[in-house]
Amino acid sequence: MPTLRIDQREISVPQGTKVIEAAEKLGIMIPRFCYHPALGSLGACRMCAVKFMEGPVKGVEMSCMVEAADGMVVSTTDPEAMEFRRYVIEWLMLNHPHDCPICDAGGQCLLQDETVSGGHGLRRYQGLKRTFEDQYLGEFVQHEMNRCIHCWRCRRFYQEFAGYFDYGAMQIGNRMYFGRFAPGPLESPFAGNIIDLCPTGVLTDKPSRYKGRRWDLQRGPSLCLHCSLGCNLVGSARYREMIRVEARFHGAVNGYFICDRGRYGFAYANHPDRPRQARVGEEAAPLDQALKTAAQRLGQIRERYGPGAVAAWGSTRSSLETLGMLQWLCQDQGWRGPQFFPQASLARRVKAAVARLDTGMAVSLRDLENADFIVVAGADPVQEAPMLALALRQAARRGATVAVIDPRPVFLPLEYEHLPVSPGDIDLCLNLLSQAARSEEAATGKLEPDAARFYGLLTSTNLEDPLLQERLLALGRKLQDCLRPVIVCNTDMVRETTPARAADQARLLQADKGQAGLFYLLPGPNAYGAALLAGREEVDLLAAMEQGGVKALVVVENDPLGSCPDQERLLRALDNLELLVGLDYLPSATAARSQIFLPTTTVFEKEFSHFINQEGRLQQAVPLHQGGTPIIQVGQGSHPPRTFLDAIPGGEPRPGAGILADLAAALSGEPAPPTAGDLWDYLSGEHEGFSQLASLTASALGEGVHLLPAEAQEPAWSPEPGEKPPEPPAGQLELLLVDQTFGTEELGSYAAPLQKVEEEPHLLLHTDLAADLGLAPGEQVALLLPGGEVTVRLQTAQNMAPGVAIMPRHRRLHWQKTGDGPVWLPPENIKKLSEPL
């Protein structure tokens, strides 16, 4: 621990800390451009010069390049250092254009700040300024290369940190150019981060271009709801419009970055068709009145048919407040439900996963970066939870082995081993891997009895493909020497047994190596909370509705018509209803179909909300503004109407939890429902997973709170690990419904910027299989599913499992025709429609 003095203050820092970081710990921000905590030091900009008075280094040096050492005395305010920095900023400004007024970085520009703080006020240089041609870099990043100061941050992030190579540096010296070889959209789904990183206005945010200056924005800490990782954001709103989202630092979750889905998905909150008014039948009505009507009609149905005739259906994108209140309401009124997942099998998988997490097993994204062997089972990180891919890359950069066991043609921006096996074989692969990871003699030697018994139960069936088998065993041998393995497992298209098997194997590794991690991906930003609330008993609303037992359905921030894979059955079930009450902030099909509709707010509006991410971390989102129809929509692009109103236009929506509380009060005639504070007490009584909530202090919410139990709720070991999950009948294909980075995720599919970049939906088949069927990529095919036909374009791939057909749950595809559970499909069900375009 070297101890040094910076500006007369002493500090001890860990070995290897740079002087610039040590100063930051003291609260001294040394000017910098190229240094960034996530990207490290480069020494390119010369802005961080300080004077070393005593110690091993003497004179003016770059504080980002010098490691703190004992006996150093550093001055950041020495006249010599200040003069040096004044010259540096003047050099950096030589070629800078005179265009701050039309630059979106103005007001949030490091170059502006440091020009002013460096004391460079008037341009002395009278020569010609260097210029560059700009490039089209896609729909997210605006390029204005004249403003570049050659700090290399963009390139270092894009290539080194994120692992994509279509953007980089060209040319030499003063003519250095940062861009692509040819203009075109940036390929990386993390490209938006270079906007945050660029210290000047070369790379600015395109969707929010010219929308407002930083000082005019209503900003606040928020959360990303576009997958289960729960990345931290700063949201910005202006004139009732959500303008922009940037990454917010969280050491354990997302670090300094977010993915483009999280960065541009927020635009659903501005959707022009967003329902902002309550509705009874076809008529718009004030929210209070609609609420009263809803209570009245629900009360009538309850009286006529009994409490079980009313059911509630929520989703995993609601805040914990709303989920909890819905649960409370159902219990209080004796309603059926709530159900939180679109299908029963998914609920079982998520519950199985959540029940197996505890403080000893769960790892955060940051822990994952420090793992040395990572098995990814049934997950395609870039498509499903993009920041996971970035964490995997950091692990790989530190030397970790990454193995992906997944039927899809998984792409990761790092070196990895992909085993394309069918979902039914994932369990087997995990078993084989852990068997291979232990040498014969050590197999059960030092394991504790439980683990040893479990190990003994593992059967040794081989994979059909000997090549894959060989690669798997080679990976297993590598795993033998690893010390910090982690298993990543998704809950989406895997078999019902897989989440449990992944936990078993992680536990086995832990028993063996003393340390191992388990990392699940869950469907939705609050799937963890929903799974805890869903408890052990199973609710199958669809079946109950079909049998006619349910007469009224309350759908809360949920769109079954979009997410339920069995559309035909759902429509039949909805027809049996007498009343459909919808609460939502999206212009969804279900919202449109509701007889009574009550508008709710998004995570950005009005009240605080909480979400639990996939590792059990409770995090808080702060409201940025009061909501209402954006002025740009009210004024239709021109100035706001010249009228005085005493209410915000379109400002009626309220948080789901509040509406449900009022509904409960109207139903029971007394204001009994738990208020915000009591809700935590209620929840902590509801499930031991929430027990920490009762003693929560508000201040604990900055970093989030781990709600994990010390001991997982489920028995550690599956009783029959050798049991093989169901397989498709011989000769049949398995249809996998999967996610894409853009275009499948519910909230993001309402966001205009993401709609522009989403890929065309397509059906993916193995190249050989397609050839056997006489199909060629690019052709339109008709896919005959249990619930009807889907027309889709065909694509083929080599690096995928042979026995599967893969289709995204794309918003532009009517995929909801498959029914629950695995779908087997005779190959004849894929028919050619047209020649390739």
């Binding site: 254009p97 701050c100 103005g106 100035h639």
Partner: protein, 184 residues
């Protein structure tokens, strides 16, 4: 303790003041009046006096304002609001621009902040209205067809962005770097 003043002397002094006052008033009765009969007569004000605000145009006749939000940011009473957008030709402009003259204190800070010389205060001070809403001026009320106090400055000629003029065609600019050549 102060010595008591003579009562008579004090009364005499007071009377003297009174008479002098009346005398001054009386003399003015015979002076030529200097009152200007506003509103019949409008006194010409200096060009730099600060009153009603205009948005001016550059020498090419295009709107000067680039909707940079600097005037609205600096305005101490927050009476300027606008929305910046991109025009079809790439130029940044205000799709609406509103000044609430009921709130403006004519301090001139907006004019000082404006990097394009677009917003300027004029000597026109007669802005009183009965209906307060008529004091809210929109862009069409503010935009004039001249350059105000400066007829020459054109921000886009200096800024060097392609919205107006190509790369390397603005003042003090070199031709764009050829990315594909290593020749000096």
């Amino acid at each position: 303790m102060e010595p008591r003043r003579n009562f008579l002397a004090a009364a005499w002094e007071g009377l003297g003041e009174l008479v002098r006052g009346f005398a001054t008033t009386f003399i003015h009765l015979f002076r030529r009046p200097i009152t200007e009969a506003y509103p019949e007569y409008h006194r010409p004000l200096p060009e730099r006096s600060r009153a009603r605000i205009i948005l001016t145009r550059d020498p090419d006749g295009d709107e000067r304002c680039v909707a940079c939000y600097l005037c609205s940011g600096v305005c101490p009473v927050s009476c300027i609001s606008m929305q910046s957008s991109q025009r079809e030709d790439g130029r940044r402009f205000a799709s609406w621009f509103r000044i609430n003259f009921a709130r403006c204190i004519y301090c001139g800070l907006c004019e000082e902040a404006c990097p394009t010389l677009a917003i300027q205060l004029t000597p026109h001070f007669e802005t009183c209205q009965y209906d307060i809403l008529t004091l809210v001026a929109e862009k069409e009320d503010l935009l004039v067809d001249h350059g105000g106090k400066n007829r020459d400055y054109n921000f886009y000629r200096h800024a060097g962005v392609t919205a107006v003029g190509g790369k390397g065609e603005h003042l003090q600019e070199a031709k764009p770097v050829n990315r594909r050549s290593n020749l000096p």
